[in-house]
């Protein structure tokens, strides 16, 4: 039931397979106050990552670092960079492990979240990807199985979107337009939701509704 590099690679492949509508939707979300490129950036990142197959003998950490390095030459957007930073940090954390136990996932999400916070200087409550990670971390703690993990993750990203939708965004250019960000999903948070959904696969996702 543990998660191996191959499982991660399979999840990335699932994301890649359905990336087109995700790309369009994120670009639209980012067009409202940002520069309209969240989807394009994410698609490029996922494309590069999906072309990295894990060495059969590689540890999870080695694979995550490999993904980070490839990604580090593929995108310059803030969201992409935060993902790269998270991949590097979690890669360091798991460099000796062949797999990750389901109940270690929450801790790793915490590692990712703290690294993103350190890099961006953005804490929780600013309506960013970091808030989604915080919620993921909280909700997946204590997951008993991969299926359970998936359900909890899906619920978490939805809940994060719901909780923040009507709050103002406090990061980047949008800050001076806090009012107009109210009522709309942050593109980074929406990206996390759509990624989790695609990674979980259609079976798990069927029970949820981010649409």
């Amino acid at each position: 039931m543990a998660i191996s590099a191959k499982d991660i690679s399979a999840a990335i492949a699932r994301i890649q397979a359905g990336i087109e509508p995700v790309e369009r939707r994120l670009n639209a979300a980012d067009s409202r106050l940002g520069d309209g490129d969240t989807g394009t950036m994410l698609a490029r990142l996922i494309g590069v990552m999906s072309s990295q197959s894990p060495d059969p003998s590689a540890s999870v950490g080695a694979y995550l670092s490999q993904l980070a390095k490839a990604a580090a030459r593929s995108t310059g957007s803030s969201f992409g960079t935060l993902i790269i930073a998270a991949l590097m940090a979690t890669g360091r954390e798991t460099k000796e492990r062949d797999s990750i136990a389901v109940d270690d996932v929450a801790d790793l999400l915490g590692v990712a979240r703290r690294e993103m916070t350190a890099r961006s200087g953005t804490g929780e409550g600013s309506k960013t990807v970091i808030d989604s990670l915080a919620r993921l971390e909280a909700e997946t703690r204590g997951a008993g199985s991969r299926a359970d993990l998936a359900q909890r993750a899906l619920a978490a990203v939805d809940a994060a979107l719901d909780d923040f939708r009507d709050l103002p965004c406090r990061v980047g250019r949008a800050r001076i337009h806090e009012a107009s960000s109210i009522g709309h999903d942050d593109p980074g948070m929406l990206a996390v939701a759509l990624l989790v959904r695609a990674a979980a696969g259609p079976k798990a996702a069927a029970d949820t509704d981010i649409e």
Binding site: G36, R73, G76, S78, T81, I84, S120, R173, R175, I176
Partner: protein, 332 residues
């Protein structure tokens, strides 16, 4: 907005190639050939100055590589920061042993990428300092000054830091001077027409014909307000007032002025705007020590302009007057 291009996917690389072919003082290096450096080796022991940013703002960023200015510049895709990898390559190439000042615009992605690159460079034993351009007064209030974006005013920091490095000052000094230039520089811009990203069917943002989008960002980030265009005169007054609303810490009534085209607005109009801006500055008792008028920091074919002021002290004035040479700007 028909573009003279071959394909969106080759836009940046072909353009960079064309740039370096036109200006043999520049060349492309790095794993992805996305770092512009000086062709002639710089003096060893000089503090290196690296910059970087998204493409689509020529001459910014990479056009300012040259003696008295930048040593290396990382180039991203259109309106997208350079990757961590490219940023790292720019630092490695700028270094001659005395450390590297990374001088970039304050954009979340760009900053994070350069920070990650700097920490990788440190693993290779290269010291660096990061200074962020934050001149766009439209992008955050005075209280949140350090969250402001960097726009055309970055040029003053390039010039001052470049001069300090060329003089042989050490990294801390070069960084101090760059920071001072940033602290004392402010920009306000307005857009009159949008630009189109290569490969897109429609602009990512709209500016209605006849409308002034005051404070719009160089990537089309929404402005402070929009209203119908009235006159160059009225716009100049509003811009000057906005720029002078905040006082620099030390009093300074001598400035360097940059009146910049965002792309499609021609010289003819820039000079008209410049004339009005000068008159309003004079009304406020501001003396103009240096002036630049032209397309220095653009957004492809966006129409509009920006006005930047660098409030001078003796040190900055000396640095701005020092010789410098790049394909788009020369001081001698």
């Amino acid at each position: 907005m028909t573009k003279i291009i071959n394909a969106p996917g080759t836009y940046v690389d072909e353009s960079l190639e064309g740039l370096c072919l036109a200006h043999p003082s520049l060349k492309l290096v790095g794993d992805e050939c996305r770092v512009v450096v000086r062709s002639r080796p710089k003096s060893a022991g000089k503090v290196g100055i690296a910059s970087g940013g998204g493409f689509g703002h020529l001459p910014l960023f990479c056009g300012y590589v040259g003696p008295g200015l930048l040593d290396a510049c990382a180039v991203g895709n259109v309106f997208e920061g350079p990757t961590v990898g490219t940023s790292l390559d720019s630092i490695l190439n700028a270094d001659t042993g005395a450390g590297v000042l990374c001088l970039i615009g304050n954009y979340g992605g760009d900053r994070m990428n350069f920070e990650m690159a700097a920490s990788m460079a440190e693993d290779d034993g290269i010291r660096s300092e990061l200074v962020l351009g934050t001149d766009d007064v439209a992008s955050a209030t005075e209280e949140e000054k350090d969250k402001r974006r960097g726009v055309a005013g970055l040029l003053f920091a390039y010039k001052c830091a470049g001069a300090a490095a060329e003089e042989g000052r050490d990294l801390a000094e070069v960084a101090r001077i760059a920071r001072k230039a940033v602290d004392r520089t402010r920009t306000i811009g307005f857009a009159l027409a949008p630009c189109l990203m290569p490969g897109r069917d429609a602009p990512a943002f709209e500016v209605a014909p006849g409308t002034v989008e005051f404070g719009m960002g160089i990537h089309g980030e929404p402005g402070l307000w929009r209203k119908p265009f009235s006159s160059a005169e009225a716009l100049a007054e509003e811009m000057v007032d906005k720029l002078l609303a905040e006082k620099v810490s030390e009093t300074s009534s001598r400035v360097a002025l940059l009146v910049n085209s965002l792309g499609a607005s021609p010289y003819e109009e820039l000079f008209i705007l410049h004339r009005s801006v000068r008159a309003h500055l004079a009304d406020h008792g501001i003396e103009i020590a240096r002036v630049m008028v032209g397309p220095f920091v653009t957004s492809m074919e966006m129409a509009g302009a920006s006005v930047s002021l660098c409030f001078l002290d003796e040190e900055l004035e000396t640095m701005l007057a020092a010789p410098a040479q790049c394909p788009f700007w020369a001081v001698s």
